[in-house]
């Protein structure tokens, strides 16, 4: 066994692979999102069987969630875990299988979704052979991570690792339970669950996919990379403990808030509302821990694009985790459900919190992975401002549009008859669909700026530079 201070060869090859694939899938996924947004505003933009909204939309969500977000999570966790454990990943072979297996899954997802092979369950659209492949690659990732933890040379596991462990365990459970289906042919299956019960299982999955793909692993990134970038320990270790356990305990109960006023038993809906409201506390605990870690470094936030992205990311995390619980209240949900308000909420979380935190993580890692400096800090700052503008241009019209729809659907004349036909609500929101498409285009152009910056950084750097790094005590541990 090697002793303290010895040189450890971290495996950064897998991190580089995931960083690049995530960036590419991010651009693909957001381009497809933009196409979907354009199709809603201009239906002529739909084309034939392969490229109409119904097939494009699941491709968008799969590419941005599984290709982009999870790609950054794989990259960030492989980067962070090796350093926090001060040991190379358990198995290079498993790392390669993880990288190539996962990207093969995303390619097959893109092809099969465009071909119309879908189960229709949101965020679980992929058909059974791909579901099995996902389970296999996920288990590979799990073995690789747990194997590394078992061999680690740093006794204490830092909070970021807890969030990644929670992701691995919970997603495995959710994916396996929700994907139970009886195959009819090699690309068609029927759910083992039917009707109300199917809805119950699906939204238990769907909500916790948000919780354990778009929240916990992103918190893991925030916990590792934010303290690194400000160069000070996380503000409070005790807060990390409290908010980690309360977050994962409470999250899993909140799924029924997607099924309010549905035929689902009332008591489950009540649980969904109650636990959603409780969720504010642990969510804000995480946000505060992030913000307070930046305390004293605010002057740097003005110049450092990475810190700016973390700061706006945390702000939107705080906003969407306040908005979500409000939308889980029955009376609010009766207005917001089925409307663009949900889409506004989704993207304030997805663009504001998830994408910005992922961008920040990539900007932190990429120069280090290629042993160089970021090609242009100014371009990264430009990206930050473009992204923030695009995000506001996306989210604000969706909120207005959602409330407009909700109010029009329930408006009645003095005699009690409905005030508007459905199609009137469609034309009323068209202008917001147009603005959202512009916002999406702006946000996407920011991603292209990043892509250029990353390519130039990689070109001036080198992957082959000597990789050994002195196993220093992780600066992120500790705190009060």
């Amino acid at each position: 066994m090697s002793s303290e201070g010895e040189v450890v060869q971290y495996d950064m090859q897998v991190v580089r692979g995931f960083a690049i694939s995530a960036l590419v899938w991010g651009i693909v996924g957001m381009t497809v999102g933009l196409l979907a947004a354009i199709q809603l505003a201009w239906p002529e933009a739909n084309a034939g069987p392969w490229l109409h909204f119904g097939r494009i939309r699941p491709l968008h969500t799969n590419a941005v969630i599984f290709g982009f977000t999870l790609g950054v999570v794989f990259a960030g966790s492989y980067y962070g875990i090796q350093r926090l454990c001060r040991v190379r990943m358990f198995s290079d072979t498993l790392s390669r299988l993880n990288l190539w297996g996962w990207n093969a899954i995303i390619v097959s997802a893109a092809v099969s979704l465009l071909a119309g092979k879908t189960t229709s369950k949101e965020y679980a659209e992929l058909e059974w052979p791909i579901d099995i492949a996902i389970a296999v690659v996920w288990i590979i990732y799990a073995i690789n991570v747990f194997g590394t933890l078992a061999r680690r040379r740093e006794r204490q596991m830092y909070a970021a690792i807890w969030f990644w462990i929670a992701t691995i365990i919970t997603i495995a459970m959710l994916h396996i339970v929700n994907s139970m289906e009886l195959p009819v042919s090699w690309m068609k299956s029927y759910s083992l669950y039917a009707g109300v019960y199917d809805a119950n299982v699906q939204w238990w999955y769907g909500h916790n996919a948000v919780g354990f793909l778009l929240t916990t692993p992103i918190l893991g990134l925030m916990y590792y990379f934010l303290p690194k970038q400000v160069d000070r320990p996380i503000y409070s270790h005790r807060l990390s403990i409290l908010h980690f356990w309360s977050l994962i305990c409470i999250y899993i109960w909140a799924g029924p808030h997607h099924l309010i006023y549905s035929p689902l038993p009332d008591w489950t809906q009540t649980f969904g509302t109650a636990f959603s409201i409780m969720l504010i506390l642990p969510s804000w605990g995480g946000m505060l821990n992030g913000f307070l870690t930046m305390q004293g470094a605010w002057d740097r936030v003005r110049t450092d694009p990475i810190l700016k992205m973390f700061a706006v990311g945390l702000t939107f995390y705080g906003m969407s985790t306040f908005e979500g619980p409000m939308m889980a209240i029955k009376t609010v949900n009766s207005l917001s459900h089925f409307t663009n308000w949900t889409i506004g909420h989704v993207h304030s979380g997805a663009l504001g919190w998830v994408a910005l935190t992922c961008f920040a993580t990539l900007y932190y890692m990429i120069p280090r992975l290629w042993h160089t400096q970021l090609y242009s800090v100014r371009l990264a700052n430009t990206h930050f401002w473009i992204a923030t503008l695009g995000l506001l241009l996306y989210v604000t019209p969706m909120w207005i549009s959602g409330v407009t729809q909700g109010l029009m659907w329930r408006a009645v004349n003095p005699d009690g008859s409905l005030a508007y036909t459905f199609i009137e609500s469609v034309s009323a929101i068209r202008v917001y669909d147009v603005i959202r498409a512009v916002g999406g285009a702006v946000f996407l152009s920011g991603a292209f700026v990043m892509f250029y910056n990353v390519i130039m950084t990689i070109r001036q750097g080198s992957a082959a530079a000597p990789e050994p790094s002195l196993a220093a005590t992780p600066a992120v541990a500790g705190g009060r």
Binding site: W162, S262, S417
Partner: protein, 233 residues
């Protein structure tokens, strides 16, 4: 330090992982197990019947094209919703729905009660180009569904898979699934032609016809069930 009590978890990955699993499995068990047993207490509506082979093919095309990404199929119990769409959705309607198709967005109107609301010919023209019927609609055109012959080669396999899951199909229905689908398609084609629309041989056996059969079936159990119609169930 005050958080010393947490050390045993932070220092042992198996312990930490086990507690994490326990934390998430409790909510999972409580939300998934009781409703599973409550399922047995859901009374199917008296008039509910499993989908015919043509309706089932139509439903699978509805899924394939992602119609559910824009159309919900879940009427909520508010007067403004029941006035607009029809009786609110009931638990007993869904026992043959694999998967459920309630949706999460209403880019287009709810379809849970669309059955028999419009004639078959309306749907035909609507697939050809929604804007011929409603210029303000942003629905994609699905003309390609009217030009593709329905593939029934899996129909029997589909019915028998569903029978394994408890849908009451007879041996005859399973064996004759493709033939039944074609006969039923003939009926719908005749009704479209009856409205003065000319269909060629491909169009008369097209995927669009199957989707129309499915759409026309939506809400049938509630429609035919007087008790449910009054909303007292």
């Amino acid at each position: 330090m005050s958080h010393e009590w947490h050390r045993p978890l932070e220092n042992h990955w198996i312990r930490l992982s086990t507690f994490t699993f326990l934390a998430v499995i409790v909510g999972g068990v409580c939300l998934l197990i009781p409703p599973f047993f409550l399922q047995g207490t859901i009374e199917p509506l008296t008039n509910l019947r499993p989908y015919s082979s043509l309706e089932l093919e139509g439903r699978d095309i509805y899924i394939r094209e992602g119609c559910n990404t824009c159309h919900s199929q879940q009427v909520r119990p508010f007067k403004t919703e029941t006035d607009r769409y029809g009786p609110f959705s009931l638990a007993g309607e869904g026992i043959y729905d694999r998967p459920f198709l309630w949706g999460s967005r209403r880019t287009g109107p709810d379809l849970a009660r669309v059955g028999k609301k419009y004639p078959d010919s309306w749907h035909w023209l609507h697939f050809k180009n929604p804007r011929d019927i409603e210029p303000r609609s942003n629905m994609p055109e699905f003309a390609f569904l009217t030009e593709t012959v329905l593939d029934t080669s899996l129909s029997s396999a589909k019915l028998s898979a569903l029978r394994m899951l408890g849908h009451p199909y007879t041996d005859d229905e399973i064996r004759n699934a493709p033939g039944d689908a074609e006969r039923a398609a003939g009926g719908i084609a005749a009704s479209i032609r009856g409205a003065g629309i000319v269909l060629d041989a491909t169009e008369a056996r097209s995927e669009a016809v199957a989707v129309i059969a499915y759409l026309q079936s939506l809400g049938h159990a509630v429609r035919e069930d007087d008790v449910a119609m009054t909303g007292t169930r």
